[in-house]
Every structure is written in C-alpha cells, then in structure tokens.
C-alpha cells in the first residue's frame, strides 16, 4: 500500500473536495472501505468528488461499475455481507429509484432480519437538490422516502467541514447511511479542520443565534436561511437558524430549545411538502413544544409538483423571500 497523504492541517476547501478528502482519509484508515459507482474512476465522478482516488488506491478499491443502480447497491450489500464497507455513488438524485428496492426492502431490513447478527455498513452518496439549472431527474430531493424507511440513516451536510467529517462518520457507522450531498454547495468553499473533535453524526447545530423566530433546514437550504436571517436582521427581526445536518434520526433537542426560546418556527426544504421531512418536524414540534408556540408551525417547501424545468426552477425552490414571507406570517399571527 502506498503512503496516502490525508488532510494535515486546517484549510479552506470546496464541499466536493472536502468530501474527497474525507473519503481519502477513511480509505487510508481502513482497507475494507471501497468505493463503487458509475464514472468514479479515471473521471473522478461527474462532480469530481472521487477525483484521483482510483489512482491512489487502485481499481480494486475504487470500482467503476456497470451502469445499473440496482446492481451497484445490490452488489454493495453482498460485499458488506463479505465484510467490506462499500461507499456507493449514485450519480444523480433522480437516478436512485432503480435502486429503491435494494435500498428499502433489502439494505434497510437486513440487520433486523438477521436478528442483529449482520451489519450493513454501507454509505450511499447522492448528489441532490436544485440550484444548478439542469435537466429532468438531475435536481430532486428524494430524502423523505428514505427517512420514512426504518433501518436507514439519512444525513445532509451543508458546510465543507461537516461534509469532511460526516462522510467519515457515515463510513464508520455500522448502519446504512444515505449521504445527501447538496450539489449546489459543491463548489462553495469553507474551512475544514481535520484536527477538530468531530461532533456526533446525528447532532444538529445552531448556525445563527436569534431570539424572535426559529427557522430550520438542511443541506443547501441552510445558506438560504442564513441569507433570510441577514435580511431580517436589517429589518429588525432576530432569526435563529438551525442546521439539521441529519434528516433521520432528527436531533430534536436543540430545535425544541430554540422554539421554547423564540416561540415561533418555520421549516424550510427544497422537497415537496406533502408527507415530507418538514411535515415530520412540524408535527413533532407541535407535539413536544405546543405550549411554547406563539403561532402555528409553518412549512416553506417546493410545491407538490414534479421538480420543474430549469427555466422556472427559481419559482419552485424556496428562496430567502419565501422564507421571510413565512417568518412575517408567523411573527404577525
């Protein structure tokens, strides 16, 4: 095995590169970790997240697979039964559905069916969400399907540092993890600290402290929420922003503490609203913090239509204005 240079010191990286560094570190630490997917070898993935990894670790650790999503996930299950820790790349969000059966009826249930005798330490990386003006099936937010499925964990980092750490934590987890990568953020730079003590995989974070209203989201939506908070501040409203980081299981305590403080909550997501992660958050907060609420919990989401053509995508995706409109409604309830 050649010496692999992993990230040594605090540095600023785009999110895609941060994930790349996280993968490299995890692969160097454990030779059972292998990557598999379409175009992840010499090309380095269509978003270059696996750039240079095949050259470093060999084609038996970074597998360019046939073009078949069910086959990729199904084979990863077999490899996990053999003791490997596969990290699967699904090329785009809308292409995960051919593998849906393998993920939901097989991967999610295998541990339970085996009475806990077998673990499924598989990570499925999914570039997801809008903002890149692409064509059909290249900009979707399918996280709710997987959050609904017992046996899976679902995460969605929003910053470079989280991406770097959470990919490693997901690989280290003995449970299957759907790792949703906000492709809108791939080229956005942030500081990555390889020495920082990692927070647990399933811990949300307060991205901005505020006192008047809580807004919560994950992935690329966090950037939109921070923009909205900035604008609101100028208008005299103090917004607290919670970055969920984990979609399933949700780390509720920081969110509930925030709602108890502000009395108001707006949930924001790119996905359609019906039966969504946002719906689950709204219901849970109503159950657990009802008497702290000064107004109904509001959801800001994509409409309940298929993700529209790129030319009108900005009208579908919640932006800072739509978040602020909901904040205004809850503030004036």
């Amino acid at each position: 095995m050649t010496e692999i240079a992993t990230l040594a010191e605090r540095t600023t990286l785009p999110v895609a590169r941060a994930i790349n560094e996280g993968l490299r570190t995890a692969m160097a630490a454990d030779d059972r970790v292998l990557l598999m997917g379409e175009d992840i070898g010499p090309l380095g993935g269509v978003f270059r997240v696996t750039d240079k990894l095949q050259a470093e670790f060999g084609s038996a650790r970074v597998l360019d697979t046939p073009l078949a999503e069910a086959g990729i996930v199904g084979s990863a299950i077999g490899l996990a039964l053999r003791g490997y820790r596969p990290v699967v790349e699904i090329q785009f969000d809308g292409f995960i559905f051919p593998a849906f059966n393998q993920i939901t009826t097989q991967l999610a249930k295998i541990r339970a069916r085996h009475d806990g005798m077998v673990d499924m330490p598989i990570v499925i990386r999914v570039p997801y969400g809008g903002h890149i003006n692409s064509i059909e099936h290249h900009e979707e937010s399918p996280e709710a399907y997987f959050a609904h499925t017992p046996g899976l964990r679902v995460v969605a980092p929003s910053t470079a540092n989280d991406a770097y750490w959470m990919i490693q934590q997901s690989i280290a987890s003995n449970d299957p993890v759907l790792f949703f990568e906000p492709k809108a953020k791939y080229w956005h730079k942030g500081e990555v600290d390889p020495a920082a003590p990692a927070v647990e995989l399933h811990q949300s974070r307060v991205a901005r402290v505020g006192t008047d209203c809580t807004v919560v989201g994950f992935g690329a939506m966090v950037t939109t929420l921070l923009q909205a908070a900035e604008i609101a501040q100028a208008e005299g409203t103090s917004i607290e922003v919670i970055d969920l980081r984990t979609v399933s299981p949700i780390d509720y305590e920081p969110l509930l503490a925030s709602v108890r403080k502000t009395g108001r909550l707006v949930v924001a997501q790119e996905a359609s609203g019906n039966a969504s992660v946002g719906s689950e958050i709204a219901a849970t907060v109503a159950e657990r913090a009802f008497y702290s609420l000064q107004a109904p919990v509001l959801r800001v989401s994509g409409y309940d239509v298929p993700f529209p053509a790129a030319a009108i995508e900005p009208l579908f995706l919640p932006d800072a204005d739509r978040v602020l409109e909901a904040v205004d409604r809850t503030m004036h309830y």
């Binding site: 078949a68 299950i77 039964l81 059966n101 393998q102 009475d115 964990r153 449970d175």
Partner: protein
C-alpha cells in the same frame, strides 16, 4: 422436456438435449450432452447416492408435513419443493464447505444439507421470524437467508462473489480490478438460486452483467419449474432461459432437473471452474413443482390436463431409487429411509407447534447497530405501555 422444444429457435440452431444421466426409470443412460461431464461422477458411489436419496426423502416428508400444517392453520404460508428435490440434492452435494449459498425461498433441501435446521426454515413460515438462522454460525453452512423479493438475492450473491475476488486479490497484493479481465483463483464459490419467473426481473439480469464484468466465482441456478405461480414460462421468455446467460458472456447449460446425477456433475464442474478463476456459470434445471407455488394457489385452475401426471413419471426420488436398485440396494434400505423420514418429520412438526414467539422487544432491538433516539423512545414507551396492563391486572 416441455421447454426444450417449445419455440422456434430464433437464435439459429436447435438447442442441444438437456444433460441427463438417468432415464425416467432411473436406468443409467447418459445423453450425448452428458458425456462431457461424466468424469465429474467418477468418485461418486452407492454410499453417496444412498445419502442423496435420504436427503430427498427426508425433505419431502418435512415438506409434506409443512403443507399439512398450513392447511391446519399452523403456518401462515408454505412453499413446497416437492418434485424439485433432484436438482437441489445434486447441486448442494456438489458444493464445498467453504462455498456460500444464496437461496430464494424454495431451497429447503439445499439449506438443510448445508446445515440449516428444518425447524429454522419452518419458523419463518409460522410467523416467528423474518430470518430463522444465524448466517455467521459455521454450523449453518454459509447459507444466506431466504429472500422473498424476487431476484434481490442474485445481486447480493454477485456482490459476495465479487468480495471473494477482492479477498483473493488482497491476498495476492493485487490492487487492480480491470474491466473484463480474467478471474483470479479464489478457492471458494457462491451459488445463487432463483426461478423461471424471477428471470424476468431486472435484478438477476443486472447481476449477470456484474458477474460477467468482474468474472465472479459464481454459479447461477435457475430452477425452471415451468410456472411462475399461474403463468407459464412461455410468458417469461421466447428463448430457453440458459440462452440468456450466454448473451451475457456466461457459460450456461440446460440440465434435466429431475436427475440428481446431472445436477451434481454440472454443478461440480461449474463450481470448480468458478473457484479456479474461470468466471461464472449458469445452470437451467428443467424441473416441475408437483404441488402449488405456495399453499395460497390452486394449480388445478391453470395447469393443462395431463401435465402433472407426465411429470410425476419423472419424479426425482423414484428415479434415484431406480438407480440405487440397479446398484444392488435392497428393500430394507428404502423402508428404513421412509420410516426415518416419517419419524423426523413428526418430530419437526411437534417442534413447530411449540415454537415460542419472539420477545416483543426484539422488534426494536435489531433495526440499528448504533443508538437511535427515536427507536429508543418508542422502545421505552412500548415497555411502559405493556407493563401498564400487568399492573392493572395485578
């Protein structure tokens, strides 16, 4: 063979006769196609055949008992394998201990011969578990769990076999896995079972793409029993199924699935080739299920007149009995096997009826490997809720 001559050979050329060593009465009468595999039988003798016969009769007695139990409401469902014991016994007896087996859900004989207790198989159908045995326990013979979503297991098997390739490469210090390269000697193989209906699913077809691409040490076994519940194999395929595998670049043959010798000889050859690095193989076993698909359907609604009777004349147990008698085995052996099978089936029957239900807490216990707050909360709530009834009745 009904599927042998069912179609106009669009592909050019007639299909060769399926490989068989025994005629319908069990006389040793190899087909021309069998000659190439005959040497695989060189070291198999009357003691082996006697054991195979015992395997088949024992499984059939268990199987029949489970069908009765379902009719009595004691099992939720049963998937009978009656009629398909021949290919199963030949194939499983061709495996080596280090090999792995991925069954569908009708491979009772295969699982049991590899070491899985029959009671464990029945437990799933009584609704006591979704699994039944510990695949990590060597006593269970590397037999993976039954899979009910058709064809899913073909991909798991292929990934597992790919792992066998990667393990061998790691041992050899080889970090490259090049597209289309020849296989590597693994010393172990993976065998996966499915049926003619499942061959229409996407998963086994993707599995064959992967298997051929990575030259996995794998043997695909399709038990073509003629019917996908009520739909005939002619609805699944315009060509014999083994020809599909050839299109993926996988060696493939059609065997007489009710001839244990054919199953053993071809299984032995294909498994050995797989272990040696010569890549995957595909065996289409032409057989027939004598009973229903499961205890939920009624074959009299869909089978043509006379089909069942024609296949009963090729019953694999009767054929192996004929072969054993030709080798000098006498009535006493057959009577003893029948008596033993009957006794064992009744023992399993009693055990099934007294199987304890799993601890209710187990539904929470194994979903995740690591702590999960939502499950933990629901698990604790459930415990409190259930215990509240105990208090109120105390």
């Amino acid at each position: 063979m009904s599927t042998h001559s069912m179609i106009d050979p669009l592909h050019g050329g007639a299909d060769p006769e399926p490989i068989r060593f025994l005629d319908d009465d069990g006389a040793y009468a190899p087909s021309a196609t069998a000659a190439a595999f005959a040497d695989e039988l060189a070291n198999v003798g009357v003691d082996d055949f006697s054991q195979w016969y015992r395997d088949m009769v024992g499984t059939r007695a268990f199987d029949t008992e489970c069908t009765h139990l379902q009719r009595q409401g004691q099992l939720a469902l049963w998937v009978p394998s009656v009629g398909q014991e021949g290919c199963q016994v030949g194939l499983v007896r061709a495996t080596e201990p280090q090999d792995h087996v991925f069954p569908a859900y009708r491979e009772h004989l295969v699982a049991n011969v590899r070491g899985v207790d029959r009671l464990a198989i029945a437990a799933q159908f009584r609704g006591m578990t979704h699994g039944g045995w510990d695949i990590t326990d060597p006593a269970n013979g590397n037999v993976h769990l039954y899979t009910l979503v058709l064809g899913s297991q073909t991909q798991h098997a292929t990934g597992h076999a790919l792992g066998q390739v990667l393990d061998a490469k790691r041992r050899a210090g080889d970090t490259a896995l090049d597209a289309g390269e020849a296989g590597i000697e693994t010393g172990e193989a993976t065998m996966v079972f499915y049926g003619d209906g499942t061959s229409s699913q996407g998963d086994p077809n993707e599995a064959m793409v992967f298997a051929a691409s990575y030259q996995t040490p794998e043997v695909f076994v399709v038990q073509n029993n003629g019917w996908a519940i009520s739909v005939p194999v002619t609805r699944q395929s315009r060509t014999p199924l083994y020809r599909r595998a050839l299109g993926f670049g996988i060696r493939a043959v059609q065997i007489d699935g009710n001839d244990p010798l054919a199953a053993y000889a071809v299984g032995r050859r294909y498994l050995r080739l797989a272990r040696e690095g010569a890549g995957p193989g595909y065996i289409e076993a032409l057989t027939y299920r004598i009973g229903a698909h499961t205890t939920a359907d009624d074959p009299t609604r869909y089978r043509p007149d006379g089909e069942l009777e024609a296949w009963q004349l090729r019953d694999p147990i009767r054929r192996l009995e004929g072969h054993l008698r030709s080798l000098g085995v006498d009535d006493a052996f057959f009577a003893e096997v029948a008596e033993t099978a009957d006794r064992e089936a009744k023992v399993v029957r009693d055990q099934i009826l007294t199987l304890p239900a799993p601890d209710p807490d187990s539904m929470f216990a194994h979903v995740y490997a690591e702590p999960h707050p939502r499950i933990d909360e629901q698990r604790a709530w459930f415990a409190r809720y259930e215990s509240s009834f105990e208090e109120s009745t105390a």
